[in-house]
């Protein structure tokens, strides 16, 4: 028993040093040298400041202005925002697209609250897109547009969803539909090994490409 205690104590220290410090630190070193951009988080910088990551979805919203042109605030003093029609909108997020505090929306399959939230997502989508897509109805809303993503920062939307939003983008930005379609194609991720997962249009890189185009 005493032998086991001593031996195990030494083992605890030895394994903690090897697996808890040497292994992660060496791997960090290799990662930083071999894949400097990716290991840091595929960050997007503008003007020297980090503004996002190509892997993370983010909010593309603008402040709601009152009649005097000032930003409105809600009861808690937070600014009220609405989707910015100049950008492709990512999927609904339960975390406000937070990249520092993550949690699941946890909406159960038989909950009335799930139905109500899904309805809200559908209505928000229709009110934004229907002016540019006459025949759009609730049953035609793509499922990715009306459901919470898992991570809260899912950057991707389905190609159907992007196709619907493209009409709004083309109209608001005065771009030809062909040009928007080309940008969508350039920012569409394929399946893994051509087979696994689903294709998705990356709203983060696509919106940045739109802004580049405008310049």
């Amino acid at each position: 028993m005493r032998k086991d205690l001593i031996r195990s104590s030494v083992a605890v220290v030895a394994f903690t040093v090897l697996l808890g410090l040497v292994y992660p630190l060496v791997m960090t070193g290799i990662a930083q040298v071999a894949f400097p951009g990716k290991s840091e988080g595929s960050l997007i910088r503008s003007g020297g400041k980090v503004t996002g990551s190509t892997l993370l979805g983010q909010a593309w919203r603008k402040p709601v202005l009152d009649q005097a042109g000032r930003p409105t605030k809600d009861a808690d003093g937070n600014p009220v925002t609405e989707p910015d029609p100049r950008y492709f909108q990512p999927r609904p997020s339960a975390t406000g697209y937070s990249a520092s505090v993550t949690f699941f929306a946890n909406r159960g399959p038989n909950q009335a609250s799930t139905r109500d939230l899904t309805r809200q997502h559908i209505e928000a989508y229709l009110s934004l897109e229907r002016p540019y897509n006459r025949g759009l109805t609730a049953a035609k809303v793509p499922i990715d547009a009306a459901t919470f993503s898992a991570s809260g920062v899912d950057p991707d939307i389905s190609r159907t969803n992007a196709g619907i939003q493209a009409r709004r983008i083309a109209a608001v930005r005065h771009l030809s539909p062909d040009r928007v379609a080309r940008l969508i194609a350039q920012n569409t991720d394929g399946r893994g090994l051509g087979l696994f997962g689903e294709r998705g249009v990356n709203t983060t890189t696509l919106n940045h490409a739109l802004d580049q185009e405008a310049r």
Binding site: L5, R7, S8, A11, V12, A14, F15, G20, P24, M27, A31, Q32, A34, K38, S39, E40, G41, L43, S53, L55, L56, R91, A99, S100, V101, T102, F103, F104, A105, N106, R107, G108, P109, N110, Q111, A112, T114, R115, D116, T118, R119, I122, A139, I143, D144, A146, T147, F148, S149, A150, G152, V153, D154, D156, D189, G192, L193, F196, G197, E198
Partner: protein, 568 residues
Amino acid sequence: MVQGYLQIAAFCAILVASVPLLGGYMARVFRDERVFLTPAVAPVERLFYRVLRVDPERGQDWKGYARSLLVFSTLFGLLLYVILRTQGIHPFNPGDFRSGPADVSFNTATSFLTNTNWQLYGGETTLSYFSQMAGLAVQNFVSAAVGISVLVALMRGIAARGGDGILGNFYRDITRIILYILVPLSIVATVVLVSQGVIQTLGGTVGGIARGPVASQEAIKMLGTNGGGFFNVNSAYPFENPSAFTNFFEMFIILCIPAALPYTYGRMVGSRRQGWTIFGVMFALFLVSVVVVYVAESHGTPAAHAAGLAGGNLEGKEQRFGIASTSLFTAITTVVSCGAVNGAFESLTGLGGLGPMANLGFSESVFGGVGTGLYMMLLFVLLAVFIGGLMVGRTPEYLGKKIEPREVKLVTIGALFTALIVLVFTALAVGTKYGAPSTFAAGPQGFSENFYAYLSQANNNGSAFAGYTGFLQPNAPGNAGAHGVTFADLMGGFAMLFGRFVPILAVLAVAGAMARKKVSPVGLGTMRTDTPTFGFLLIGVIVLVGALTFLPAFLLGPVEQSLTTTLF
């Protein structure tokens, strides 16, 4: 749908192809033979033996093996608890996180000690890099190695011909498993993951984006079937699982070791057919689970349909994985006691949630955790041999060794004790007021949350219906005011401890008993255990034990949900 089934078929083909390769390699490692890594690793291995003052040639009987294992695990559990409770004074803490509360730290320490990796804590919002690396990631390796070592002891016990009852040396097994199997695979996996965009940095949060040494932890989290994510939303988060390809790769590294171990077992007992028979049984039950979850998720939920949405269930799933890859991941992570998730289990359809629950209900014997899965399966094999022996009216024999009352008693304890904990603890939680603070959803979903919590913790899986909570975090700087739900934290902790160590002791005792038995020659009356007939008998035993134990609970939760369109 065709595309979905193609993905599933391709994944299975790649998995099966990898089995002999990795399985054969592990058999060589367990039998102390020379492998291609020996020149590089042997010096480190010898250094460990010198530092630990272990004579690697000196074997232990089952009691010695069990004692070493328990002392080793207890000390590691204490260290982890102390690290979590003193987090505030450690280095590598760019977020200035405070030390955890006692109840949550107890739950987290047992969770990682037992290879469960149940997450009540919020990864990126409560834990420093030091706690993640020196605390959690170390346990990811060590708890996995402990699981495999118990299996190795059992395999040696069954294969033993000497009758001296020696099962091997615990410290030697742990060292070899870590140095020859877990570390090399983790290094390769880390590099692959970083090359695809998984982050690995000590740079801290920039521009509101939380970061950390994720890839090195992600690799062993999957390979060791641990499942505790760096981020709270686990492998759904793009920094842990950025693309459809990484998702495929992560599914593969969850399943590769558990799938290869039956082959290893076949090599160890000198009959590959024994190994493939067990693999076949696991694979069949796994396929059923995948298809059930996929079909259920493709049909969508009553709530979404009531809102007017048409199509499958993408609630709580990521677009880049889609329904098929999320369903496959869900089935894999629950047959294997991994518990990493790439979508929200709480948002699965009723029937889609039954899939994971049934997998847990089979005591994680279908592939299961590294080591733990196959030793649970071998308990079921012995049970099937015993039942088969009763049916044909002969003394049950397994690989030439008689199965006697003592072994059958131990097998029963090992196979049923976990289920007892699950049912008693769930009943306590939902029958008293103490479960209520942890419950999120109303109606049967609320029952499912509690039931799943104990099912997952007692079986050392770690996935969750995440509406269930044991830790409350008011959104305050430095995590001020965060506190645990004491009942949920302590009960969960005890469920994990008992669910881990009671079966381990039963398995080691069986291994010791088997190691002492004399081998009788195969005769005409011997029931063969390497045939499809035995495979079906084994499936029958597993399903029967699981179904009889948990059917009432399944009816109250997921079955009710999948039979109704009522909203709660």
